[in-house]
Point group: C2
Chain length 163, copies 2
């Protein structure tokens, strides 16, 4: 069982909140990590692995013109992935990740460049919590993916349980 | 890099075929395993993690009455998950998995019960390849999930490259 995932599940369970995840670079690894925790099914709804560009539009509704203009490794696409998944799942919290694991660059982006969006609940008359961060991770393909999982879960914990 | 995943990616690449995965019990672990392989993005499109029951209908179109009648850990739901994902992605091959990782039973099913469906390309005037198998794995939560990943990839390899 993953420690960070366990903390996420516990934190969300205490607040009766659900989470869904839209994954590109990690290919399902965030969901796989969250579900190492027994009882995760009460909190983690699931999500979409939009690894291929065309699944980002087909399964999440990311507009093609945004992907063309900004490339799929961008702040804009991370946000659209999160918004698209929240629309389709009604999850309270959504994490979306897009980036380059390597070994090769992609669309002019170096391996290790990762964008993470953490989107909060839509509550009438309150501004919606939306965090987006860019990371430039060092290391090989596996390392970049693992660092992306940790960074995403840490971002979520920071906003869900502010210190 | 996972050996079995590497074999799957190589086998599909030689045949110019794409794959998508609908995961319940594994929570994203099949996608995460396939994407340990550099270059997986040319073959693995992505898919849906329909961990919660309601995402099986919302993201894959699994009919509610089928889930009620057969429970979500069933041959029928594994097939509907695969068909739903193929409709949404046009992937040549689709894997769908549903089961109980444990530690607790679910809907009357013991931990270790897993259904896997492997669905082949839709080619006009040819019958579609559709394999469904039930497994009863021993071991703890992590072990059941890892055995599910291996069994799914092995099933796919058997039908894509028959000996």
């Amino acid at each position: 069982m993953n420690e960070l995932a366990s903390k996420v599940i516990k934190t969300l369970r205490e607040r009766s909140l659900h989470i869904a995840v839209a994954e590109s670079i990690t290919g399902g690894l965030i969901g796989a990590t969250l579900t190492t925790v027994p009882g995760a099914s009460k909190i983690y709804l699931g999500g979409v692995v939009s690894y291929a560009t065309r699944l980002k539009s087909a399964l999440l509704g990311v507009p093609d013109d945004i992907m063309r203009e900004h490339t799929v490794v961008s702040e804009e696409v991370a946000i659209e992935m999160a918004v698209g998944l929240q629309n389709r799942t009604n999850a309270d919290w959504v994490i979306a990740v897009t980036g380059v694991a390597g070994p090769d660059p992609q669309d002019g982006h170096e391996p290790g460049e990762v964008w993470i969006c953490v989107l909060g609940p839509r509550i009438p008359s309150l501004p919606q919590s939306r965090q987006v961060e860019r990371f430039d991770f060092e290391g090989d393909r596996d390392s970049v993916r693992l660092q992306t999982v940790d960074a995403a879960l840490e971002m979520l914990l920071r906003v869900v349980s502010p210190v």
